[in-house]
């Protein structure tokens, strides 16, 4: 079945001409046709003739012996990456009809390595959310269901929820995501797939619609660790057009997958064992520790003393940057526009009508913490605490090579749960936010199912620019877990 392959398997099948890129793309379009109405994972599906034309071009590359690393592999693109000529909405009314005249660096690199784009995946509006319920295109439904409670529509996590649901349900072999405070890792964990947030600066931010510029980082969402390595090789690299892009060579990440981890020092952060941690999360974490120990790793207790301040710090800094970044949506240069008699009213109406509630509240919160009289007490203070959080990681990495922790404090919840109190919703990010604040790479790998039959993820966090060790440790967890579960909804199509 073509929709169930990994990128690596599909690449081998294409190279051996067992099936064509056209067949592979057609199978995915048919899968999208059958399941997307239920899942709402894609906001925009690229017209069939364009998808098939791209696939035909890949077939020609295979025939000519010029196939590139991602040649003919059908993937989904989070609708936050600008794609030339293809509507890019950020799941916002504000950009409902926005057709970018340019291509983001990450998607341009994926196209240059032969990928075939299927469409633009759903997300929380402007990537702000942890459940993919804040989307102007409607919520994404997870393809997973609770045992004995099949009627409850579960969230796929967020903000890259459409990407996670699409990969889990057979609507794409892989997808791009972006991670600001956990938006790749948490939905990957909820949907039983692999998600990698690279080091800040590893992938260019150019052409990706900005949320919080000091935190935003693009990364792959895939079915295996090897696939994440392969796709990151295509996405990563220095870009003149992004002032914070890292001018460093891109390692052969794939070579790190499956490498021995004997002697690797794995840190277990004491502060992540928060009181009230769900027993099933605790148990899967213990299991992960045992797997790494069996593989020859040395387990070391470490402390990240400022962990408990991570969330509050994040929810000051990210909204501050968001209020600044989203100032550009003024109804004049692009995006939607409300008619009004004066310029001020034009701004105010456009922004009141164009932004959803969560985005509006974050802009207001960010404006508040940056405003005269409150800047020092909130924003400046948060930047200082952020430095302490980063220092926690730097000091821990003097003692250990990677850290192991749960990805999220629970399995996926249902739509409507956790949504009345914003602080309760923000707690979903408790284990993912600290690595974002420090800018270090982190990988979520599916490790098992809970008693309700829902996936749980483990997170491996590494040093700046050491995705390779993260991938090596991740592949050990992956092999030990042997996670082959499929969600209740999975589109079987092709061969």
């Amino acid at each position: 079945m073509l929709t169930g392959l990994t990128l690596t398997e599909a690449r081998a099948g294409l190279a051996a001409r067992k099936f064509s890129a056209r067949e592979l793309a057609a199978a995915h379009l048919s899968a999208i046709n059958s399941l997307n109405p239920k899942l709402n994972a894609y906001i925009t599906v690229i017209p069939e003739k364009d998808v098939l034309a791209a696939a035909d071009s890949s077939d020609a590359h295979y025939a000519a012996g010029t196939a590139r690393p991602m040649e003919g592999l059908p993937i989904g693109i989070k609708d936050l990456f600008c794609t030339r000529g293809v509507k890019t909405t950020a799941a916002s009314k504000m950009l409902a009809d926005f057709i970018p005249p340019y291509e983001s660096t990450v998607t341009a690199q994926l196209l240059a390595s032969g990928s075939v784009f299927l469409g633009k995946t759903n997300l929380d509006e402007f990537a702000m959310g942890s459940a993919n319920i804040n989307s102007a295109a409607g919520p994404v439904v997870s393809p997973w269901q609770r045992k004995g409670d099949e009627k409850a529509a579960l969230v796929p996590g967020g903000s890259s929820g459409g990407s996670a649901a699409a990969v889990a349900a057979g609507l794409a072999l892989a997808a791009t995501g972006t991670d600001t405070g956990g938006s790749i890792r948490q939905p990957a964990a909820y949907c039983g797939i692999v998600g990698l947030k690279p080091t800040y600066g590893r992938c260019s931010r150019w052409g990706t619609i900005a949320f919080a510029s000091s935190l935003d980082q693009a990364g792959p969402m895939t079915r295996t660790v090897a696939d994440a390595a392969l796709m990151l090789e295509a996405m990563a690299g220095f870009d003149e057009k992004d002032s914070t892009s890292a001018n460093k060579p891109v390692p052969a990440f794939s070579k790190a997958v499956g490498k021995s981890v004997k002697g690797l020092r794995v840190g277990i952060p004491a502060e992540y064992r928060a009181p009230g941690l769900a027993p099933e999360i605790s148990a899967i974490w213990e299991q992960g520790i045992a797997w790494l120990r069996e593989a020859g790793c040395e387990i070391v207790d470490v402390s990240l003393p400022h962990t408990r301040y991570g969330l509050a710090t994040y929810y000051i800094i990210a909204p501050a940057e968001c209020s600044s970044n989203l100032a550009r949506y003024d109804g004049v240069r692009f995006g939607s526009r409300a008619e009004a008699p004066s310029l001020d009213e034009l701004y105010e109406r456009t922004r009141a009508e164009g932004f959803g509630e969560e985005v509006r509240n974050r802009i207001l919160m960010g404006t508040y913490v940056l405003s005269a009289g409150y800047y020092d007490a909130y924003y400046l203070k948060a930047q200082k605490v952020r430095n302490l959080i980063r220092r926690d990681f730097t000091e821990a990495f003097e003692k250990v090579d990677v850290l192991l922790a749960p990805t999220a404090p629970s399995a996926a919840f249902a739509q409507g749960e956790n949504s009345s109190d914003p602080v309760q919703m923000y707690l979903n990010d408790i284990f993912t936010v600290p690595a974002s604040m420090a800018g270090v790479p982190a990988l979520s790998v599916p490790a098992g199912l809970d008693s309700q039959g829902l996936p749980l993820g483990l997170q491996i966090i590494g040093r700046h620019f050491d995705e390779e060790t993260v991938l090596s440790a991740g592949s050990v967890i992956e092999a030990a877990a042997g996670f082959t579960h499929k969600p209740a909804l999975f589109a079987e199509a092709g061969l």
Binding site: A312, Y315, A327, N361, I363
Partner: protein
Amino acid sequence: MSLDIATTRRIAKLARIGLADDELETVRQKLDGILDWFNQLSEVNVEGIAPMVGTETEAMRQREDVVTDGNCQEAVLSCAPDKSGPFYTVPKVIE
């Protein structure tokens, strides 16, 4: 210190988001709850700690002061919700 309605109105004005009076109160309550939660940071000692700006993994780069892009007026204007010739339009500002 709790957030009052006048401050909420001022913030909405600064952010150029038009809110009706009943919306202002809802927003005030939401933000006030979050601000209260932020107060936990007051217990962190940041004496002598520099603020972290960005992730500081790369130093700022300089480049030659030359034009690297341009001649894309049409593409840029293609995104405008309203335009007149090569110009963006806005409601009349000067009487």
